[in-house]
């Protein structure tokens, strides 16, 4: 186990966003590369619009990521990116959406979401390796809003911190997703990689 370089990926989003589907797809990608993978998810009450946190770990036995342990943080919603920052290792990679899904108290006008610039500032205090993208817009452009998650995975693969690139994710999409949604997700992958390089 110890001869494989450990990579811990922490993913966070809002219940119903498709975070868990993306998590499984990434874990399948790692497995297909012949690497030891374990992945975890916490749901239950979270399915009712709460926070969903999930993990993919390469070269580890535990499915859990503690504070300060994540090499990569993928935030499918910007406020959740900020909430999960304490899980990030100093100097780790952040890929985050910039499109808010306001929680109820915000929607009701009782509390305010931080501005996207506040979030970027908080991130930059922990790392200078951060990428931001409009994942829902990209998803819609690819053909389905949920595919924005795959766009973000594509960006993570292209960022160079994983032991494989976007082509591994492309193969996993072809091998694991139902045929009728493959094209949309392959398009999303392409757009995600482009967004990283933009």
């Amino acid at each position: 186990m110890s001869d494989v370089k450990k990579v811990r990926i922490f993913m966070t989003g809002v219940g119903g966003q498709g975070t868990l589907t993306a998590t499984t797809l990434l874990a399948q990608t790692v497995l297909a590369q012949g690497l030891p993978v374990t992945s975890g998810e916490i749901h239950g009450m979270a399915q009712r619009g709460g926070v969903v946190e999930s993990t993919v770990l390469i070269g580890c036995k535990s499915p859990k990521i503690g504070l300060g342990e994540a090499d990569i943080l993928i935030g499918f919603e910007p406020m959740e990116t900020m909430r999960a920052l304490p899980y990030l290792k100093q100097g780790g990679l952040v890929v985050s959406s910039i499109e808010f899904m306001p929680p109820l108290a915000v929607a009701m006008g009782k509390q305010e979401c931080p501005a996207i610039d506040d979030i970027k500032k908080a991130v930059s205090a922990c790392t200078d390796k951060a990428y931001y993208m409009a994942n829902q817009t990209i998803g819609l452009e690819a053909g389905a809003v949920q595919s924005g998650n795959v766009a973000m995975l594509g960006a993570v693969c292209a960022a160079g911190d994983l032991p494989f690139g976007p082509e591994a994710l492309e193969a996993a999409i072809k091998a694991n997703l139902p045929e009728k949604i493959q094209a949309v997700n392959l398009k999303a992958l392409e757009l995600g990689v482009a967004a990283l390089n933009a």
Binding site: T24, S39, K61, S62, G68, P86, P103, V106
Partner: protein, 611 residues
């Protein structure tokens, strides 16, 4: 393509959820009967068995509660069937009555009881440690830490249980149930026919005269199982350092990663217990004698720690055994937490703490979904009773009614307690009590509470929130449903008839989205005394979409005339609604078209979905 979980041949490797791995393991172990009551984090085990059941070679049922599930399982194993019974940790409390005696009677066909414990209370009301049940009742315990082990232990657990005729506890925790990892499949041959029950009253009927020798026989079986634990491949000692680490369950994963991170593997002797009870005493003694100090790494209760302390004392070994004095007795561990505990014992500096500050952000508490019928019921209850009633809640999605503005959950004990504990409040204090219970929970353990309330003349208004499914845990069927993901329910039970059958005379059934009628029914029942029941009947919208293929044709929108009073937002807290500028607005993608908000404010209108 057939589901690979049902493949009779082995050899393939699949990425599986821990709970799916348990299913595969049970099939490899020759599963013939499976029973359950769903409960997170165990639910995907029965859900997977249910979905596969049309093509599987086993009998499966969702039982009405855990006690019944274990009793059906008990009958099945007595008839010779290799049996799996699944539930969450608190479910074992419900099943505890048959469990203790079943351990006397035994399990001729083999019986694995899955107890999915929940350190950290991710989706539960407590953190109880069910390894203690096993010690009290007399069951061997397997504690997997990976998806592969979850599969292997479900298989080997069934076989071992059958070999010794003793029920076995497969004890997982949330992280194991909900991890994903590669699993290499073994063969899963057709288990064939169940042998059938063989009459033997002295063995199977625990009247006192028979129960006494049964207890002795149980202890003998457990001694034989202790020998199995001594020789089990699931119990391993590695390394040769002077610090000994003993661990079981998911803690083994944390220890492995911690040692790897810290590069300290050569400084410890690691004792991993996958088959953790009965305690393999010889192996434990050898381990204790080989080290200078022992650190026990286990989540929740000091179960293994106390076992080792007793063993050391019995053998007059003067050795320091650490556990709960350096590691917490509550919640989940992390790799870093475990790593620091190990570092401390080895005199190493702790891992540098993370200095990213915890941000102050709006919380994102789970909420009743857009279009949830419970919102309509709660809104009406609050309108009629306000803060004058004590709201007795129960286990299910509807507990989320606790949040403002609905605030209709004042206390909660366990499944089915709403009616009975509500009766307790009413009888003790004379306060007005409105109790809420879901349809599945009503069949689980609400029926007995209603019988009790009627018999003892309690003064309670019980609201049965009938959303036609068990929504919280993932839409499992219960006796009241008419349709499921794999077909019709041949014998749907009528809740209203059952309530009347239990002696309740004042029963009303309403659709909670019809506020006028719901309010009128509440007012009418408020004026009466004794046990009254209001059935609020309307399907869960998520279930409706999936099973009935029904989507409301309309969505709500806020007319330009909106005066910005925000009654809709403040009183309903529907996740589809938000403030935009000085006005309320509805997100048409999230709106499920329940039209409750139209009845709260005249400025909200309906339009055709998509227009």
């Amino acid at each position: 393509m057939a589901n690979p979980l049902l493949n009779e041949k082995g050899g393939d490797t699949h990425l599986l959820l821990g709970n799916e791995a348990i299913v595969r393991g049970a099939l490899e172990g020759g599963l013939q009967v499976a029973t359950c009551y769903p409960g997170t984090p165990s639910s995907e085990v029965p859900d997977t068995l249910y979905k596969l059941s049309p093509g599987g070679k086993y009998y499966f049922e969702y039982s009405v509660n855990e006690k019944v599930a274990l009793e059906v399982a008990a009958g099945a194993t007595l008839a010779g069937a290799a049996t799996l019974c699944t539930m969450k940790h608190v479910g074992v409390n419900v099943a505890a009555d048959p469990l203790f005696t079943l351990c006397y009677v035994g399990a001729p066909g083999g019986l694995v009881l899955l107890s999915a414990d929940d350190p950290g209370c991710h989706s539960s009301q407590n953190e109880q440690d069910n390894r203690i049940y096993a010690r009290s009742a007399g069951m061997p315990v397997f504690e997997p830490s990976t998806a592969q082990e979850a599969k292997d232990m479900a298989r080997d657990g069934l076989k071992l249980s059958r070999k010794h005729g003793q029920p076995l506890l497969l004890r997982t925790t949330t992280r194991v149930n909900h991890l994903r990892g590669p699993v290499e499949f073994g063969p899963a041959p057709d288990p064939g026919k169940v042998e059938g029950f063989k009459r033997n009253p002295s063995k199977y009927v625990p009247i006192p005269a028979f129960a006494r020798p049964m207890h002795l026989a149980l202890m003998e079986r457990m001694e034989a199982l202790r020998e199995e634990a001594e020789n089990s491949e699931y119990n391993t000692v590695t390394g040769s350092g002077k610090l000994g680490i003993a661990c079981s369950g998911i803690s083994r994963a944390y220890v492995a990663d911690a040692l790897d991170n810290a590069g300290l593997a050569d400084k410890v002797t690691l004792f991993e217990l996958g088959f953790s009870y009965p305690l393999p005493e010889k192996k434990c003694l050898d381990f204790i004698k080989s080290v200078d100090k022992v650190l026990v790494v286990e989540e929740l209760e000091p179960v293994l720690e106390n076992d080792l302390r007793v063993l050391a004392q019995k053998n007059k070994l003067d050795i320091e055994i650490l556990g709960k004095d350096v590691l917490p007795r509550h919640g989940e561990f992390t790799v870093t937490l475990v790593e620091n505990a190990i570092r401390e014992q080895l005199g190493e500096a702790p891992v540098a703490a993370c200095d990213c500050p915890l941000p102050e952000l709006p919380m994102r508490p789970p909420n009743l979904c857009a279009g949830c019928p419970h919102r309509g019921t709660y809104f009406a209850a609050r309108k009629v009773f306000g803060d004058d009633a004590v709201y007795s809640s129960d286990i299910g999605c509807y507990t989320l009614g606790i949040l403002p503005p609905l605030q209709t959950a004042d206390f909660l004990i366990c499944m089915g307690s709403s009616i009975s504990a509500g009766g307790g409040v009413a009888q003790a204090s004379g306060q007005t009590v409105v109790a809420f219970i879901g349809d599945s929970t009503y069949f689980h353990s609400g029926l007995t509470g209603v019988a009790n309330a009627v018999f003892n003349s309690h003064d309670v208004l019980l609201v049965i929130l009938d959303n036609r499914t068990t929504a919280m845990t993932g839409h499992q069927p219960n006796p009241g449903v008419d349709k499921t993901v794999i077909g019709e329910n041949d014998h749907p039970l009528d809740i209203e008839a059952s309530v009347r059958g239990l002696g309740v005379t004042e029963v009303r059934t309403v659709n909670p989205f019809n506020q006028k009628k719901t309010l009128a029914a509440f007012e009418e029942l408020k004026a009466l005394k004794g046990v009254r029941v209001l059935i609020a009947k309307e399907p869960c919208p998520l279930y409706s979409r999936r099973v009935y293929k029904k989507v409301a044709p309309q969505v709500a929108y806020v007319a330009d005339s909106c005066a910005g009073r925000f009654d809709c937002l403040d009183k309903l807290a529907c996740p589809a609604m938000f403030k935009e500028g000085g006005k309320a607005a509805v997100n048409p993608i999230l709106c499920n078209g329940c039209m409750l908000c139209l009845q709260v404010c005249g400025h909200i209108k309906a339009k055709k979905r998509g227009s």
